[in-house]
Structure formats: C-alpha cells, structure tokens
C-alpha cells in the first residue's frame, strides 16, 4: 500500500511535520511496513495493551493547592508579552495549501 500525496499533505497539516524529501517519505513508508508486522499475530479475543503501565496503580492526589503563583517565571520564556498575558497570533495560521507551498511533495 502506497502512502499517497494526499495523506502526506494531510499529515503535514495536522502535525506540522515536514517530510522534506524522498528519503523522508521512504522512511515513513518503511516505518509503516515495520508496524504492519503486527498484523501477522492473531489477536482474536485479546484486550489491546496500550501501555506497559496498565497494571500500575494510578496515584490519586489530595485536592490541595500546592502550586502556581509563578507568573514572572512563566513569562520569562515568552518572546512577547502584554501586561501579564502571553501573546499569540490572532488565530491559527494554517499551513498553505499544497499548490501554494514550496515543498518536495509538489513534484510527486
């Protein structure tokens, strides 16, 4: 199964990754093939495991206020701030459409 340009474009939009060149796409292709090996195992009637922590105990914290009040420290990392707010662009700036981008994917 080939990974299509549409799928790659969608991934780039969703995750803001850049497949950059043929090698990048090839690596993705290989990673998918590697994971597909899982299909060779018969998992009928087996609960999927999504974490090796699954039988660990989930620790419950008491409802006490123990953190916060560190506005200055947090804002230290901000490139721009207004009073004590972080500053962000007016809205999400989506990746331009495929036709309008200079990307390797264009040529495929």
């Amino acid at each position: 199964q080939e990974v299509t340009v549409e799928v790659l474009d969608r991934l780039e939009h969703l995750a803001l990754v850049d497949f950059r060149d043929a090698e990048g796409v090839e690596r993705l292709q290989k990673a998918i093939q590697f994971a597909d090996q899982l299909h060779e195992v018969n998992t009928d009637g087996v609960e999927p495991m999504d974490s090796v922590l699954e039988d660990r105990c989930l620790y419950l914290r008491e409802d006490d206020v123990t953190e916060g009040n560190c506005t200055k420290e947090l804002l230290k990392n901000a490139r721009e701030k207004v009073e004590e707010y972080f500053v962000a662009p007016p809205g999400n700036i989506p990746l331009p459409k495929l036709e309008e981008r200079e990307t390797f994917l264009q040529g495929s």
Binding site: D63, N69, P89, P90
Partner: protein, 495 residues
C-alpha cells in the same frame, strides 16, 4: 419536519485545585497567576490525578443513573490552539468514567404551569477532561492575549443523546442538570461564569427518513439563549431545506445580539484529533464494597458504594417530599426549587405561622415571587423577610385584616422602611371591623338604599348579593370581612 437536538455540556468541577496539577481553581484572578509548570506544558512535567475530581464525576454519574466504569482510561486529543499549550487535551475518549444514564425533566404544555409533562433524555456518557486557557482577541493590534489560569481545570463533559426536539426541552434539561450539579456540589454550574457551557447538535428530517446533516452551535451563554439558538437553528435548517438548499456539517456560533446563528470563522476543514492513549496515566480503577482491596491506603481508594450512600436528595426527590409534606401541587414544588433560596424561605414562613402551607404557598408564589421578579431581585435580596411575611399572614389568619388589606400591607412592607405589619395596619386603619353591631348598621343602611337590588335578590337572583357586599366594603373602606357581611346581609334579607 422532525427536529433532533443533542447536547454536549461541559461542567467545571468544583474543586480547590486542578485536574492534573496543584494550582488553584478560581474565577477572575490576575492573569497567569494560577498556572503551574504542568499547566504551561513545560517539558519534564507530568499529570497527577486529583481525587476530588474523580469523586465529583462518580457522584454525577450516580445521580444521572449511569453505569460507573470501574476501569476507565485517559486519552490525548490533539489540536493546535494558542490556549492549549500542550497541543493536546487529556480526555476520556475510549472508556469514560460513566455511561448509559438518564435525566428526567419537566416542561409545561402551552406555557401553563398546571400542565407539566415529564420527559427523559438519555445520557450517553460522562468523561473527565481538562479545560483550556482563555484567549482574549485584540483585533486592533491583530493579536491574541492568552491567560492560562483556566488551563487544566477539571471538567465533566456530559453528553446527552439527541432525544430533545426544541429549545424549550433543551433549556429544561440543562436547567435540571444544573440543579442536580448544584445539589451534589460537584459543580457550581453558573453559566454566567463559564462553569457550565453548552454546545448543541441540531438537525431536521422528515418522519420516517433517516437523520439529516447536523450542525453544532457554540457560544451559548445562558439558558434563555440556549432555547433561542436551538429554535433559530431548527427554523434556519427547515427554511434552507424547503428552499432546495443543503445543510453543511459545520460549527456555528450563536450571536445573542442578532438572535441568530452564524458560521464560525477559523475552521480549517474537518478536524482529525488523532486520539491516542495518554501514556503517562495508567487506567483509573474504582472500587465498591465487594471489590475493596484489603491492604490499600484509604486515600488511594475511591469507593463507589460509599459515595452512593452519601448522595444528597436530588431535586426530583426534594420536590416530591415538599408536595407530600406540605400538600402543595407538583408545579409549586417545581417553582420552589427553581428559585435559589425560595424553598428555605417558604419553609421558614410555614414554621412561623398558623396558616396552612397550602395557603402560604399562594402568597409565596403569587405575591412575593412576582414582586421579586418585577424588581429583578433574588430571594436573598428580598426586603420582606420570612419573619415579616409570617407575621403578616398571622394577622390574616386571625381575621384581624382582610386579604385585600393584607396585600396592601405587603406593598408597604416591600418598601423596606422597617415597619412591622401591625404598625402598618394601625397606620392605615386596615383592621377589620370587629364590632358586629356596627357592621349590622352598615348592612342595614346599604339594604335600605338599594331597593331594586333587594327585590332582585328576593326574587331569586343571588348574584346581586355580591353587589351589596361590594357596597358594604366600600362603606367600610375594605375593613369588613366579606364572609361575615354576606352572612349578615342574607340574615337581614330573609327577615
């Protein structure tokens, strides 16, 4: 056309600290002052689940007749937005904490309180999830200001199946949920402070055909606007389809000023949240009396049965108890619970007066409540206390004043000048005439002056008697007991 309405309700959990961190939960604090390193998504931080939030969700699930999942899981929901610093929200998509419940609510038919109908909406699930921060849009400088105080606050998302059909039903269901949450204390559920947010999913179809395309309506800030938004959207969809158009599966915002829904900007195509299990949190295990582990630290154990035993009376139970205890009507119970503090006020008046609760309720709902509504006051802000009202009703009950006079006294009391009912009665000379002889004389005078009416009554027209009673009332400036007057007049006329 069959309209179909489903709701997704986000209720902020009433807790001291956040869902996965120890920073404080508080409305209106200095920007970014209630934010921990985890809330700001700084690298190297991990989520630690707050026990109180789990209990709140279990209580709510039990109150809504849900099955509590003894094992539930946390997931990551990915999307980019400036007020979501991690780039994902921790939620419960695969296995939420509670499923398959129901909520019963009442609506009035034709706006008549006396005809109430009970409806039920199915609860699909309740899940625990994080709230996002707040974005303030500064259009003049083309930027957004972000405050993360709200980021990470615990939410219960309550998903109601599309069992509702109009704005009134949606608003009634949400109102009942609000009362339940406030009774449980799991959320203060004040819509105006953003503690209860509602998104509506709306579609229409012809009977017999399958469901139409649905739209999601957001930005609804009050119950009134919820009803308006739902009804508007239903109408809009019907008109669109009848004109041969189609409905887009889109998200719309409710514009309260214009009273309509508009497409929301900033929606770049269909979202794909790429859900994945939250790798830093093992499954959440809840216990009951049977499965309680012997050796575990109590603090680490949430016992569903223990919580069940301690659930307070839900609104529906409270209403039934009021009806049974005081002999009032179901719709009275409904109104009592619907106004914050009114039940307490009513019960306090009943305690302090000899008047039967069935009569007291009339004064509470018809007189006191309408005054409060006219002046936009809450029960707590009432210038007339339960003590004063009870005092007034006692005067009425002892037949020292007529009910017309009582209403006049209430109007005076409303001014809040500190006078007692007794003082007002004396001041305005509203006492009922107790001297029977004096009353008899006045009755006789009226009879003597109304020859025609007297003949009519003697001929069998009883209705004219009311005119005579009215005349006596006028003569006595409302200070006569109508029942007694009627008796005296009838006696005299039969002589």
């Amino acid at each position: 056309w069959v309209p179909v309405v489903g709701l997704e309700i986000h209720a902020q959990i009433s807790s001291n600290s956040k869902l996965f961190s120890g920073s404080q939960v508080q409305f209106a604090a200095a920007p970014n002052s209630l934010v921990s390193f985890f809330d700001a998504s700084l690298p190297g931080t991990l989520p630690v689940l707050n026990r109180r939030c789990v209990e709140a969700a279990v209580m709510t699930g039990l109150a809504l007749n849900c099955s509590i999942n003894k094992r539930s899981l946390f997931d990551r929901k990915h999307y980019f937005y400036a007020d979501l610093p991690a780039g994902y929200q921790i939620t419960q998509q695969r296995v939420p904490i509670a499923v398959n419940g129901s909520l019963s609510y009442s609506i009035c038919i034709d706006n008549k309180m006396s005809q109430m109908v009970t409806k039920t909406v199915r609860i699909k699930q309740i899940q625990l999830e994080q709230d996002s921060g707040k974005s303030l849009h500064d259009d003049t400088r083309n930027q957004t200001l972000v405050d993360l105080n709200r980021a990470g606050v615990g939410l219960m998302e309550v998903v109601m199946e599309p069992d509702m059909c109009c704005g009134e039903e949606a608003a009634a269901a949400v109102r009942e949920l609000q009362l339940i949450l406030q009774t449980l204390g799991s959320s203060q559920a004040v819509m105006a402070e953003g503690q209860l947010r509602v998104d509506a999913n709306i579609s229409v179809h012809h009977p017999g055909e399958h469901y139409g395309v649905r739209t999601e309506v957001k930005n609804i800030n009050s119950l009134r606007f919820l009803a308006k938004a739902v009804d508007y959207e239903i109408q809009r969809q019907i008109e669109e389809l009848e004109n041969g158009g189609t409905i887009l599966n889109e998200t719309r915002a409710f514009d309260s000023k214009l009273g309509c829904t508009v497409p929301m900007r900033d929606k770049e195509g269909k979202q794909d949240y790429r859900f994945m299990p939250e790798p830093n949190l093992p499954p959440l295990i809840l216990y009951d009396a049977k499965s309680l582990p012997a050796n575990m630290n109590h603090q680490q154990v949430v016992n569903v049965d223990w919580i069940h035993e301690r659930l307070p009376d839900l609104p529906s139970v409270k209403r039934a108890k009021l009806v049974e205890r005081y002999g009032i009507l179901p719709e009275h119970g409904f109104t009592l619970l619907n106004e914050d503090g009114l039940t307490e006020f009513f019960e306090n008046v009943v305690k302090q007066t000899q008047m039967k609760p069935k009569k007291v309720i009339g004064w509470i709902l018809n007189d006191l409540l309408s005054y409060l509504k006219q002046h936009s006051l809450t029960v707590k802000e009432s210038p007339v206390s339960s003590f004063l009202l009870a005092d007034l009703l006692n005067l009425l009950e002892k037949k020292e004043i007529s009910s017309t006079a009582a209403k006049q006294v209430l109007a005076e009391l409303w001014k809040g000048e500190g006078k007692t009912p007794f003082e007002i009665v004396k001041e305005k000379k509203l006492e009922l005439i107790q001297d029977q002889k004096e009353l008899e004389q006045i009755c006789q005078a009226v009879i003597d002056g109304q020859e025609n009416e007297v003949m009519a009554i003697k001929a069998g027209n009883q209705k004219v008697l009311n005119k005579l009673i009215g005349l006596v009332q006028r003569e006595t400036q409302g200070r006569s007991n109508p029942a007694l007057v009627k008796q005296l007049l009838e006696k005299k006329l039969s002589e």
